[in-house]
């Protein structure tokens, strides 16, 4: 088993954990964390695919894509956090009232 394979399998697991977490978790913060975990899985798969060639350097394109992706994901997570806090301040709700 190659190194990259371990991580690409991990990435699939993370993705599924994240997608499950988004739907199952109730609290806003946990939902947001779940989206970031999902993103972590996706980025891990990108980078693990970059590592499989035994060339002079690893494929730089996925690395660049992942950096872009991480920053984008963080921007949207910050926005989601702002929304969640605002909702809590206005209504004292920590989760969506009707489930899902």
């Amino acid at each position: 088993m190659e190194t990259y394979q371990i991580y690409s399998l991990t990435s699939a697991v993370l993705f599924v954990i994240g997608i499950g977490g988004v739907f199952i978790s109730r609290h806003f913060i946990k939902k947001i964390i779940a989206t970031i975990i999902m993103g972590g899985g996706v980025f891990l798969s990108f980078v693990s695919f970059a590592d499989r060639d035994a060339l002079a350097f690893a494929d730089p394109v996925p690395h660049a894509l992942v950096i872009t992706g991480i920053v984008v994901a963080v921007a949207s997570a910050a926005f989601a956090l702002a929304l969640a806090r605002r909702i809590y301040q206005l209504t004292e709700e920590e989760s969506f009232t009707n489930d899902k």
Partner: protein, 329 residues
């Protein structure tokens, strides 16, 4: 043999991800999430993605970590007694709803399990080769930088990067939209603790220099605008926490300029190239190196300013002001 590290790290990452979602208390979740970020950064290192590791450690763990800590302050119950009440209420509620939720939950979990199996199968079948490494290697000398990741980011796929800088500004605007634009106006008390003040004062230049080093080093090795930006953003956050909110201390127009500088310069440069008969972001080869450095520096400044403003705005989001509409833009 080295597979052992990878397997252990993989298990750790998965365990942390699961636990941060399953932990009963919010603070446990958040701290397990920090640990998740750090473990993931180690995974990037194992995969040879040093740039990604720095970015992950700095922004996904550091910046988001501070944001989450700040959010935790809102969400954590005010006293232990209240907390007990809430938890008992939740318990009883969950006990009542356990039966009604069992079937959909079970089917959801089963569905996810099936999904996971297909996903694993799909990932396992990825061919062990292919990618753009060879292309990037071939064109690297024409890009104006020596580090392939920076070349891809700022030159080959500059369009994505430019849009991404736009996304950060957009994220800030979105945070403003939620908070009804209250760029904080109230002065924050300066920290009374001498040691803390000194540490902040000491770390400001260190962070600045290290950021500048990473920025410049990005030309030849792992590092670059985003990593530098987060470190510089950390300066802003530290100063804000230490009672020196930057956006209060500088004039309004300067703040706006700092926030938009990277995006605007990048774009106007692109338009100039178009006017000169080339395409958007097509650097003249002779000046590519210099232009990329300028673009990166300005982008780093803008992103740092945006991160600082995001944190400051979230940190200042207060209950009392929530019903008031601040119309001063």
């Amino acid at each position: 043999m080295s597979v052992l590290i990878d397997i252990l790290l993989a298990i750790l990452v998965i365990y942390l991800a699961l636990q941060s979602l399953l932990a009963p208390r919010l603070s446990q979740s958040v701290f397990l999430f920090f640990a998740f970020g750090l473990a993931l950064a180690l995974a990037w290192v194992r995969l040879g993605a040093v740039d990604v590791a720095i970015t992950e450690a700095a922004i996904a763990s550091g910046f988001l970590g501070v944001l989450f800590l700040d959010a935790l302050r809102d969400f954590s119950p005010r006293s232990s007694e209240e907390q007990k009440n809430i938890s008992t209420v939740q318990n009883s509620r969950s006990r009542n709803s356990v039966k009604s939720l069992l079937l959909p939950r079970l089917s959801l979990v089963l569905g996810l399990g099936l999904f996971l199996l297909i996903a694993l199968e799909a990932v396992w079948n990825i061919p062990d080769g292919g990618g753009l490494a060879a292309d990037a290697e071939k064109l690297l000398p024409q890009s104006g930088v020596e580090h392939p990741v920076t070349a891809v980011l700022i030159n080959f796929r500059a369009y994505d990067t430019w849009l991404e800088i736009g996304v950060i500004l957009l994220g800030l605007l979105a945070v403003f939209a939620v908070g009804k634009i209250q760029i904080y106006r109230k002065p924050i008390p300066v920290v009374d603790d001498i040691l803390l003040r000194q540490v902040i004062l000491f770390f400001t230049p260190v962070l600045f220099l290290f950021g500048a080093f990473l920025l410049y080093f990005g030309k030849t090795g792992p590092g670059g605008a985003f990593q530098a930006a987060v470190l510089w953003g950390a300066i802003g956050i530290l100063l804000h926490l230490g009672g020196r909110p930057i956006f209060l201390l500088i004039p309004r127009w300067l703040g706006q300029l700092l926030l938009t500088l990277g995006l605007l310069f990048f774009l106007i440069l692109g338009f100039l190239f178009i006017a000169g008969g080339a395409t958007l972001f097509e650097y003249p080869p002779a000046y590519a190196g210099v232009l990329i450095l300028i673009v990166e520096t300005l982008a780093a400044i803008s992103i740092a300013a945006a991160l600082t403003a995001m944190f400051a705005n979230l940190n200042q989001m207060k209950k009392e002001e929530s019903n008031k509409i601040d119309s001063t833009n």
